[in-house]
């Protein structure tokens, strides 16, 4: 039993090398890469063209004249409000919102998952079901009552309010992830720690949390993506000084009766997506591992 070597998928192991089947396999995988990359190609290629090339047709072709001006414009010169600030100032707003919201919802999800698996009590499963169902509520529906509640709580138009909203609607999924992950975590370890005299929080902090890396990655990727890309809440519950990136991007892209600078739009669009892309590329390796450890197990 050679560890790491005997783990081969025997079915796959049989077909290593470059048989015709293998070539077809790579071809198919390559074709799907094209499918997934295509929109990115359209965006990237048009973000380095002058506008005239785009409006005169040829939106799919490579630029005749390469230019980085659209990128510069999207970053710091483009008009997204009365002042030509580009997207730059909004980046910080988004980060100020995303980081606490992701952190809070992840921690709450972890604690909930811990309680629901290791300290389950009568009715806790029902409570979990109720939490989970909350994931399915359409956001358009909660807009007005949420605005009212934020007003009542004095959080209207503040970053804290936005963070709160995202935490509220992030709890369901983060709890789901952690619950499934902790369900597979050996309960004996928790019992042993109890006997050693560790309390509720100490067990969580010292025993479960240190081994929660993979599922935390899944949860963070999920929450980060959703919150960073959210437009509806970001637009509705922010103030003039806390509008997130997506609102600025939307303002850049959607102008009603003005000239549309598609190249700048695409540059801005890619720019706005960079943080999430980065998260996917950096944490992507742990992603499948995390899913494997948590969410796909019954």
């Amino acid at each position: 039993m050679m560890p790491g070597v005997s783990m081969d998928n025997p079915v796959a192991a049989r077909s290593r090398g470059f048989s015709p089947g293998r070539i077809v396999l790579y071809l198919i995988l390559g074709l799907f890469c094209l499918y997934y990359l295509l929109p990115l190609y359209v965006m990237a290629v048009n973000s380095v063209k002058p506008l005239s090339e785009i409006t005169s047709g040829g939106m799919m072709s490579l630029p005749d004249e390469w230019t980085l001006a659209p990128w510069r414009a999207a970053w710091s010169q483009a008009q997204v409000g009365v002042e030509a600030t580009g997207l730059r100032p909004y980046f910080m707003n988004s980060i100020l919102m995303v980081v606490p919201a992701v952190a809070l919802s992840t921690i709450m999800g972890a604690l909930n998952g811990y309680v629901l698996t290791k300290w389950a009590f009568r009715g806790s499963t029902v409570l979990f079901g109720l939490l989970l169902f909350g994931c399915f509520i359409p956001f358009q529906m909660v807009l007005i009552p949420m605005a009212r509640m934020l007003g009542l709580m004095g959080l209207a138009g503040s970053v804290a309010g936005l963070v709160f909203v995202h935490v509220v609607y992030g709890i369901g999924f983060s709890t789901l992830y952690f619950r499934n992950y902790y369900a597979a975590f050996p309960t004996e370890l928790v019992r042993a720690a109890q006997i050693d005299g560790a309390g509720f929080f100490r067990i969580f902090w010292r025993i479960l949390l240190p081994s929660s890396g993979p599922i935390a990655v899944v949860c963070i990727i999920w929450q980060f993506t959703n919150i960073w890309n959210d437009f509806l809440f970001g637009a509705s519950f922010s103030d003039f000084d806390s509008q997130p990136m997506t609102v600025a991007l939307n303002n850049l892209v959607q102008s009603s009766t003005g000239v549309r600078e598609y190249n700048v739009h695409f540059a801005g669009a890619i720019m706005a997506a960079l943080p999430t892309l980065l998260v996917y590329i950096v944490a992507g390796r742990f992603f499948v591992r995390g899913l494997m450890a948590g969410s796909v197990k019954g």
Binding site: D8, N9, V11, A12, R16, C33, Y35, Y36, L37, P39, M43, M59, M60, L111, N112, V115, K118, W119, F121, T125, F128, L130, L131, G134, F136, I137, P138, Q140, M141, I144, P145, M146, M149, V167, I171, G172, T175, R191, F200, T225, N229, L232, T246, L249, F266, A269, A272, A273, T276, L277, V279, Y280, I281, R285, F287, V288, L291, M292, V296, G298
Partner: protein
């Protein structure tokens, strides 16, 4: 696991300690009680009022529901959700599974390919909607390019065709999430006992039979997770439709989410919007609740 046994309630500290798990869970429960279930009740109430631009609390009975079902766009939206939801979930699952199986064949550069498949999930449709719209547009997109290669008869005009436009929504939506589903299935495949695959090999199962009869049935938890994620996405699909077709041509690609938004916010008929939200929630509940019930009960 139950709490540590012991003389409960002997001292206040002990009682506090016993209650700790509930105390930790309670903020979430309270939040969800108010911000999900409270809002649902509020919406149900609104659906019986004549609310227009802002909530109004005067009851008008069933009028909004009555009107709702007379609005043609609502029927279109419901039918579209059925078509879209079914196709979207089915295609995502099939494609995700297919790609996961391919990627599970000890592929060189697996990590790289996986990232490519996964990245669309990172982009919002505010971002990619325009790109998709162009790509699908017959005049400048795929059709134009293929015709440019010399295939003059090639035709791809779904987005302009009221009957086919909903399928372009499916294409773009599948593009966005199938990579994520692939990752879930890949994780599921990696979790299957290796000895089982050997056993099947000795039993003489071909790769096809192996996957069909042994591997795929074991991916049930992965299917279920994918279903929850996909169902939730299908129901909430809004940005996608707005960015791609704006609900058109005509009302051909209207979905309940866009309908609800449009009646609540654009048309100032909040009462009808609320009624549509209630119907939609009931539909979701009818599908999700039995699923949650069976999943959660089974684990006991």
């Amino acid at each position: 696991m139950s709490q540590l046994a012991g003389a409960s309630g002997a001292r206040p500290m002990d009682r506090l300690r016993d209650a700790l798990p509930r105390i930790v869970l309670s903020p979430s429960v309270a939040i969800v009680a108010v911000f999900v279930y409270g809002f649902i009740l509020f919406t149900i109430y609104l659906s019986f009022t004549n609310s227009r631009i802002l909530p109004d609390y005067e009851l008008v009975g069933w009028r909004n529901y009555h009107n709702l079902f007379r609005i043609r766009a609502w029927n279109t939206a419901v039918v579209n959700l059925a078509i879209f939801g079914l196709l979207y979930i089915a295609i995502c699952c099939c494609l995700g599974l297919f790609l996961a199986i391919l990627l599970d064949q000890r592929i060189r550069a697996e990590g790289f390919i996986r990232t490519i498949y996964l990245y669309p999930m990172a982009l919002s449709f505010i971002v990619t909607g325009v790109a998709w719209k162009w790509f699908l547009n017959p005049g400048i997109g795929l059709q134009a390019v293929v015709r440019g290669w010399g295939f003059e008869n090639f035709s791809f005009t779904w987005i302009t065709d009221g009957k086919m436009a909903i399928y372009t929504i499916v294409i773009a939506a599948v593009w966005q999430t199938s990579g994520f589903v692939m990752a879930m299935f890949l994780a599921g495949l990696r979790g299957i006992d290796n000895e089982m695959l050997k056993a099947a090999q000795i039993d003489g199962a071909s790769s096809f039979v192996l996957y069909r009869r042994i591997v795929i049935p074991q991916l049930r938890p992965a299917f279920m997770s994918a279903f929850v994620v996909l169902a939730h996405m299908a129901i909430k699909s809004y940005d996608l439709v707005i960015a791609l077709t704006g609900g058109g041509p005509g009302t051909a690609t209207e979905l309940p989410a866009t309908f609800m938004y449009s009646y609540t916010f654009t048309r100032n008929q909040m009462g009808i919007g609320a009624a549509s939200a209630v119907i939609m929630l009931m539909t979701i509940a009818a599908i999700i609740v039995p699923y949650l019930w069976s999943e959660l009960r089974e684990k006991k």
